[in-house]
Symmetry: C2
Amino acid sequence: MGKLLIVGTMAFDAIETPFGKTGRILGGAGTYIGLAASQFKIDSAIVSVVGDDFPQSYMDILNNKNIDLTGVEVVKGGKTFFWEGKYHNDLNSRDTLATELNTLADFSPVVSNDYTDADIVMLGNLHPTIQLSVINQMEKRPKLIVLDTMNFWMDNAWDELITVISKIDVITINDEEARQLTSEYSLVKAAAKIQEMGPKYVVIKKGEHGALLFHKDNIFFAPALPLEEVFDPTGAGDTFAGGFAGYLTEARNISFESMKNAIIHGSNLASFCVEKFGTERMVNLKKSEIDTRLTQFKKLTQFNIELT
Amino acid sequence: MGKLLIVGTMAFDAIETPFGKTGRILGGAGTYIGLAASQFKIDSAIVSVVGDDFPQSYMDILNNKNIDLTGVEVVKGGKTFFWEGKYHNDLNSRDTLATELNTLADFSPVVSNDYTDADIVMLGNLHPTIQLSVINQMEKRPKLIVLDTMNFWMDNAWDELITVISKIDVITINDEEARQLTSEYSLVKAAAKIQEMGPKYVVIKKGEHGALLFHKDNIFFAPALPLEEVFDPTGAGDTFAGGFAGYLTEARNISFESMKNAIIHGSNLASFCVEKFGTERMVNLKKSEIDTRLTQFKKLTQFNIELT
């Protein structure tokens, strides 16, 4: 089986949406990526850090999905990364109410020996220096390195971000961030500029408006599945990335065609993530539900026009 | 050949975008709808009104596309409807600088005898009373009545709008207007409510984010083609509607499957409209360009996932 190495936060989240409010629940980019990727027939491991306040029951949720957690450092006496946010009524924007880095502040990732030969590395949103450290620990160049990042690092660690972007194959980024990174308003032009910076493939996430994949002159688009109600968008982007990387790890085929399928699988899984608070929907998701919704994705987008 | 009756404004537009500024140029919903629909093998006619300041050269542009203009009233001594607008830098929003109704203020549409048996009627954005008057002049119920409208009529002619909506088959409307019409934020819920108001098919236009088609439990989505540069969005929605109605008139087949193709053709034509100021791109558009871009639409959206 293909091996996927995931680097990303494991965290406590406290979330408020127009539909309700949670206490501290399981969150973090690494968690969402891992849960999504676990839907594929792959070996996967997470590299992360938590405090000893992180409950065993949360570890078990990931262990039960056959995710290797030997690379998760538990800091004695340390506290786990905490994020608190409140979504606006349209769910498209949110205010961050609290960010406590805690053990994440001094995180120095260590890739376990079993995963230094991973086929694919999925670098979740973290300081680019941490992302780079993981790349440097790989004993051979992975077949594919996928990187997720955000505007915060453009504002605060530009040089390090540019360095790590030069060493990866796929970047996933949202539309506003793609514009900030390139000073181009047109996403077509922005994606072309980003490809000159290193990544051969550029994935631009547009939230409820879908996702675009760019590679040379090729463009592919996947919509978000129109839902009756979006309940909590937290983790949707990471779930998308996890589905994307998980599919490619199982497929063992890196091409524009397989990336198209990876985009669809990522979009499909993200459509479940937003239906309940936090990770709840992803933890209990069944294969049959995934297949049913893939069929909906086909019906949503496939047409048959004969050119005359 | 199928017969399409188009009702909509013929106008002077003055447009400013970040890329430049026009004087008074040819515009109007009826004009854009007609130009788009003329790409199909159909008979078409426009019902509209202009003043005698409307140049013969503009009439000739439409005549040369084989559009019947006997239903265009020319008011002696009257002035043609004029709209002036300025787009913001992102081209997604605009300020209206001037709206002079002129001859449109007293417009009483008259459908010529040749078109009272049209197969499809496309009611462009106008006062709902004018739209209703056209429906009432049809000697037999058309196979399909398509209506475009906007928030202005929700604010200023609610009852008349609800009446005309109850008598049509397809409504095309943008996302914010669908929300205003139904008080539902979710477009899935909004589309369901609109279907209860009359139309069996609901098309929700999301501008650069594509268009959705709803019919019972079926949903179809077409993206806007990602372009290097959008030059002038004026008329894109009307061009979409014209392509939609024109395709269905040629196809002579009203079904969800044929509507999917109609949505793709409409999106395809709209992608040309925005490439130049006003109607310039549509007037000179070649069949071979349309076919090439339809191929791009296929590549953009079609994938092949086998369910296991």
